[in-house]
Every structure is written in structure tokens, then in C-alpha cells.
Symmetry: C2
Amino acid sequence: MPNEADLAREFGVARATVNRALRSLADTGLIERRRRAGTHVTMNPVRRAVLSIPVIRAGLEDEGRRHSHRLLAKEEGEAPDDCGFGPALHLVALHLADGIAYAYEDRWVNLHAVPQIMQVDLTQISANEWLVGNAPFTHGDLSIGARRAADLAPHFTCSSDTALVQVRRRTWNAEEPITRVDLTFAPGHEVQAKL
Amino acid sequence: MPNEADLAREFGVARATVNRALRSLADTGLIERRRRAGTHVTMNPVRRAVLSIPVIRAGLEDEGRRHSHRLLAKEEGEAPDDCGFGPALHLVALHLADGIAYAYEDRWVNLHAVPQIMQVDLTQISANEWLVGNAPFTHGDLSIGARRAADLAPHFTCSSDTALVQVRRRTWNAEEPITRVDLTFAPGHEVQAKL
DNA sequence: GAGTGGTCTAGACCACGGA
DNA sequence: CCGTGGTCTAGACCACTCG
């Protein structure tokens, strides 16, 4: 594409305005910009969907449902290899919506990054919620898969062959891993996104 | 939070600079801004994950896998109610990666919006790909769920109890529905996102 | 009505990185 | 090297909307 200065002249606007417009297009992935190389229309416009990740409690309460949770297990130990950290707190909890099982949480927290969590009464506040307020993170990743209910079936009172959505989330603060959590949702749950 | 003019004075920068910074924070959801009401820190900072939705062919080829597809069914008919349109083209196709089943596609296309699709040889180019190039859309939504393989098991040569990821995508051009597609992926597939 | 954010201008300097 | 986008400034007008 023409450079910013030319576009500004062509449309009779200031260069800053062109810059803002092009930046917006770049943010949505329709064009790619590199210094000196110029601005190019993206070959395969990869559509980006945005999905909101609310704190479980807030997400439920927005829908008018009451959230509670039960801590099923809590123990110190070595995190699995793919967590990227060693000494960890392993938590297993069940989230309930209006008293009905909503999500099963299996979490590893990096004790090197967040030692204070040992002092917290996690039967009162869910790890999810405490971490949001006390352990900031800069970035993370998310992978959404499907699994058979198998041994989780009793929690959801479903057949062990039921297909459940499982979301794995890992977060970092700069280079330091914070936590890895697997959330397995009740049958029928869907992750929503807009694009 | 203080208003833009005050922040500019406090930090000794131009108001435009403050505006750009705050806009960036607002885009990531950390603050909320309303005219006259001012700028407020978001109570429940909903994290937003961004997931890339490539054209199936492009996504696979980026990974060095060869894409092909087989059209399993094609017929005109009335779209299901929740599509939001009537006369439709119903397509069923199987996407293959290196000759192995990768995704099962069940699609309804709004013939009122995209009548030209009737002239296209969809055994040559997948509907997915053709629509990307010929039927622009302004927005859409996405829901990701899990289902048993059930009658799809033969396509993926898996047990009918296998849990599969299913993605439903609907797209609109302004107010006009374009297409609704259900993509069911091979066992083990995960949808990736960054946050 | 008035205060807020939204947007634009004209000009400037700079960092990056491709040719 | 030097053209490109990235960023900032100082000032201005406007649109929205809450009190």
C-alpha cells in the first residue's frame, strides 16, 4: 500500500489520522506493517475471535446464578513437567452454580512465584478468585479440548462416556510461570466468543 | 481516574498521548471509559483471549500438512430455525490433513445472501475457502463445545464414545446472515488461544 | 449546561531494518 | 544509508451524556 505520507496527501488528512486508521486495520489483522518495508495487505486474513474469560464467580453472578465452591484436595508437591516450575501447590476444587456442579478445577500454583498463597484459606475464597486479585500476570495461553467424563462422571452425575469441554490455561508474569489450571465443565457447557 | 487533561499535566505529556495510553488500556479491558462519566478501573477485569481462526487449508499448510477435502452431501433446503434464514444450501464435507480425517463440516449457506454459490464446483474448492474470498462478513460468533463421536466415529476411525471438539460459527454481513457451520474435529484436537 | 472523552491537525524527532 | 512506521506535541473543535 502507499505509505502514510502519500495516503495523507491523497485523502487530504493529517498523517496522524492515517496512522491511526492503519493501526486499527493492523490490530484486526487485515494489514501487516513493517518499518521501511511498508504496509501490505494480509494474504490470509486470519480472523481473530475474542473470548471473554471472566472469573468463574463473576461470570455466574452476571447470569444471576449463585456461585459456591468446594475444595477437594490441597497438597504441596512437584508440578508436572509441562508446567515449567517445580515446587507447587496442587489444588482440586469443584465449582457449583446454584448448588449444581458447574466446573471441576485441577490447578498447580508456582510456590516460588506466589508463596503467600500458603497462608490463604482456600475453602473460603477460591484460588481462581484469590489469584486474580493477588497474582498479576502479563500473558498466558489457553487450549480448549474435549474429554470423556470418565472419573469425573460422579461429580456431574453423568455417564462416564459423556463428552466434556476442558480448558487448560497457563499464565506467566513476565518470564515467571504463575499457574496452570485445567477446568472441566459440566455437560452441555459451551465456550462463547465473538469475531 | 483523573481525566485526560489532569493526567497530561501530572505527567508532563500531551493530552493526545494520555488518550492513546488510556485507549490501549480500554482495549484490553482494564479500564472503562464513558463521556462525561469519566474513566474507571474495571471491577472484574475480564481477560480477553484472542484465538486465530485460519482458513482450514491455510492453517494446515502453515503446519506443513497437505489439505484436501471430500464433499459428502450437497442439497438445497430450508435452514434450521436457529440459522435465521430460510432457503439454504446444505453442505457436508470432510477435511483431510495428509489424507487423514481432520474435520467434519456441516454447513448451511444463506442462498438469499450468496446465490452465486450455486454456480461453484464445491468438489474443487471447499465452501470454507470460497466463502472467505467471495462472501465478506462484518461479524460473527463462535461457540465451542464437546460431543460424542457417535455417528461420526467411522470418519475418524475412533470409538463412538470418543469426545470430540465441536465449533459452531455463524457469520453476518451487517444484518444479513451468511452461513452457519459446525466443525467437528478429529480426536485430540485442541483450539488454541493467547491471552 | 458543562465536563468528559473522541477525534483531528500540522509539525517534529526517532528507531528500526531493508535495500 | 535512508525511507518507513512509531510516537509525541500543542492546540482545536466536536459529540455525547450525566447531573
